[in-house]
Symmetry: C2
Subunit: 296 residues, 2 copies
């Protein structure tokens, strides 16, 4: 058992040559040591994909949903299809190797590999998560930022890779820095034609007239694994849910608002563009308890 | 002397802690071996910048222009300012170490480094270039692709990092694959409001009424180092040059058209969106000869 764990996939995809065909699906390696060549397209071009899976009390959450999205991102980037069975085993083995902690994460990464090799690079990195209690209870300050795209850009220009979870996240990180410059914790991207999209690393959920509503996923955003489980929570409670086009005015007037992501869970928004926003503490607590106690 | 060379910077920026304060500015390392940790933000987030400098007969070309753009990209990403003197020395040393070839390149990369370390990662990778003769003489087939952004997006939304040369190039590579799917070699990005922007890895230059014209650089595109030298060539020949807003119709009706980039040089466009485009072979040859013979 150890604090951080790295499992390197020997054969990240079925249709790419293995490093050693006789080797196991993955092998453990030192998580701090260097494992990536400077010619790997993952670092030279941000040309790859990832998923971050939260692990509560040793249980990887929404694992199949993450693996399905991983495969979908690979397809959008014309990457070789990941060998989902090998990834699942590597994730489970890495998590089993971790010191027992209440909350950890396992991050899967698949890059196009060293340029010219035709062999993708893949690994699972697992580590304890930071403490998200304050974000889940006191809430977070969020600003809206123009994403520069119309809401229909994924349909008109698929080469922009909107809706794929890629390693090219420099602008997502720049958006978070811009939010911090404005005194906030996080951002919500808005389309040029006024629709709420997603946060740089999370989905938006609004409580509107007793329903939970999230932006439609055909507008160039990631379908959220945590958002999906929150909608499952809602279904169990008899709360209606919907995927809709939401404007900034819609979320401003919502009864409550969250950013949903794997590691932080449901973070209630306490200010939006500097204006106070109501928090539904009981509902937030119930959602986060549900997410924590998931068994699948 | 060796075929590929890797120089790792010990202190990529002045205001970040060095790996070893007493060490040299850089050290040579095995170019094929792994040097990057899986937690480096360069690979997990595409959070870093690069430059590719062409080297003809051992001379790094447009070196100061590349270094200045490298520093500008760092500023746009809130990265620690690169120690330009250390980078220049590392580039020159790496190039000197290469086997003598007519055309090579040196690529500089600066990432935000291992998450939480506060220490950027930096290296120079040098290698022989592929043969670009065919692209420079027979020309290339290019298609226009919608970039999804208005031409003024860099002014309205600087967090989108348009105009910075970042490691988040997954969509640039996807655009090239889309071009190949359409039977072409490369793409030209166009703004949603109809203006010609840039290619995924090159600038656009058009010959219009005896002048050389390139898109204005305040529209969210990279200022080109090779484009700048082509304009220097034009000035020496008494050819007028201009930075303008160009529409797709403008480049379709241009007398000649090129994509300009460091390694490939000036590649004349022989078809645009499937329609034949005139090539000015003499001017192309003169430009590429000028680029090859640069001494600064």
């Amino acid at each position: 058992m150890t604090e951080t764990v790295l499992a390197i996939l020997n054969r990240p995809s079925l249709d790419a040559p293995a490093h050693d065909p006789a080797a196991d699906a993955f092998e453990f390696a030192g998580p701090v040591e260097a494992h990536i060549a400077v010619t790997d397209l993952g670092i030279t071009r941000g040309d790859g994909i990832f998923e971050t899976i939260t692990v509560t009390d040793g249980r990887p959450q929404a694992l199949e949903a993450h693996l399905a999205r991983f495969a979908r991102s690979a397809q959008m980037l014309d990457l070789p299809a990941p060998d989902i069975d090998a990834w699942r085993r590597a994730i489970e083995a890495a998590v089993a190797e971790l010191d027992p902690v209440e909350e950890a994460f396992a991050k899967t990464t698949l890059s196009r590999g060293v340029e010219g090799s035709g062999r993708p690079t893949g690994w699972v990195y697992a580590a304890p998560s930071g403490d998200s209690t304050e974000a889940r209870t006191a809430g977070i300050a969020v600003v809206t930022l123009d994403r520069g795209y119309r809401h229909d850009v994924a349909r008109t220009s698929p080469w922009l890779l909107q809706g794929a979870k890629t390693l090219s996240y420099a602008l997502n990180m720049a958006a978070v820095r811009e939010a911090e410059r404005r005194g906030a914790d996080d951002a919500i991207f808005v389309s040029t034609d006024g629709y709420v999209l997603e946060a740089p690393r999370a989905n938006v959920i609004a409580a509107i007239d007793g329903r939970l509503v999230t932006p439609r996923t055909d507008i160039g955003i990631l379908p959220g694994t945590t958002q999906a489980d929150i909608f499952r929570f809602a279904a169990e409670r008899g709360i209606d849910t919907a995927f809709e086009l939401l404007t900034v005015a819609d979320i401003r007037s919502a009864d409550a608002l969250w950013l949903a992501s794997s590691v932080r869970g449901a973070a209630p928004i306490r200010t939006l563009d500097g204006a106070p926003h109501a928090i539904d503490r009981d509902l937030s607590d119930a959602i986060n308890a549900f997410l924590h106690d998931r068994t699948e």
